[in-house]
């Protein structure tokens, strides 16, 4: 497939993935990229998502939802083409508070896939990409 066609196809799949998930739409998630190497999703800052009213910092739970969605997208985009996936476990490490007002960008990739399980790592940062906001590791089911 020519490169531009491939990119168009990836963009379409990315858009459909988000549109099919009511919670991803409610959060306003934007799929920046998806392909065999993984997925990238960004979360625009929104006042409804604040966890600490004193500082305006986004709640950790929102980061969990972002990491989980991004990881699930990476599983679905894996070249072995899973039919469906569900989270088995997800561990999030919070490195620092995200800067209020800035979007948070997450990237996830499957670093190992078996017949029935995908092992995923994810990473998230705001505008300062040199200092991650959070990292995650997870195991996901693979329905074939």
């Amino acid at each position: 497939m020519p490169e531009h066609e491939d990119q168009e196809k990836r963009k379409r799949i990315a858009r459909q993935f988000i549109e099919a998930i009511p919670h991803a739409q409610a959060l306003g998630l934007v799929m920046d990229d998806i392909g065999p190497d993984g997925a990238a999703i960004s979360l625009p800052w929104h006042a409804d998502l604040v966890g600490d009213p004193r500082s305006g910092v986004i709640h950790g739970g929102v980061i969990s939802a972002l990491m989980d969605t991004c990881s699930g997208a990476a599983v679905m985009a894996h070249p072995t083409c899973p039919r469906s996936t569900a989270t088995i476990d997800l561990r999030i490490d919070y490195m620092r508070a995200a800067t209020p007002g800035q979007a948070i960008r997450a990237k996830a990739h499957c670093y190992h896939v078996t017949r029935s399980v995908a092992f995923v790592r994810a990473w998230a940062a705001d505008d300062d990409e040199s200092r991650p906001v959070a990292t995650a590791t997870g195991a996901f089911t693979i329905e074939r």
Binding site: A20, I21, P22, H23, A24, Q25, A26, A47, D48, L49, V50, G51, D52, P53, R54, I58, H59, G60, G61, V62, S64, A65, L66, M67, D68, T69, G72, S84, A86, T87, I88, D89, L90, R91, I92, D93, Y94, A97
Partner: protein
Amino acid sequence: MADRNEPLAAIKSRRDKALAALVDGVPYIRWLGIAFDRRGDELTAVLSYDRKLIGNPALPAIHGGVTAAFLEVTAIVELAWTAIWDDMEEGRIAPDAAVPDSLPHLPKTIDFTVDYLRSGLPRDAYARAQVVRSGRRYASVRVEAWQDNRSRLFAQATGHFLMPQNG
């Protein structure tokens, strides 16, 4: 020791006000639709079902991220509630949602691990947290969540938190 003859209404008002101060000021708790049911010092978090919580419309199932967020909110509120209990009961603090300066500082999540035991059904969910260990700086909390049956958990989690310093 608390006054044995303190009027019941005063006790309830003090505790409900303090709990509301921890919960009502957080936009994300409201946005997700989480409320807290209090029996003495025991809290049960209630996540009211809404279509925006769905992650898999084909089943349908609650989004894994919603489940994680619900458990994390429950853990943080329980930890903050446990931390202020003695000061609140002794009258040293009186947190009030209407007075921003009176609001307790919240613990910060260090890490949080969620086990997904079964898929979340499109109906209300409940969770309770237990502070396993709370030191001056660090705390460890376990959370369990269920829907129809208390003994059939759909998710559980454990997390570590950094306790607020100086109030």
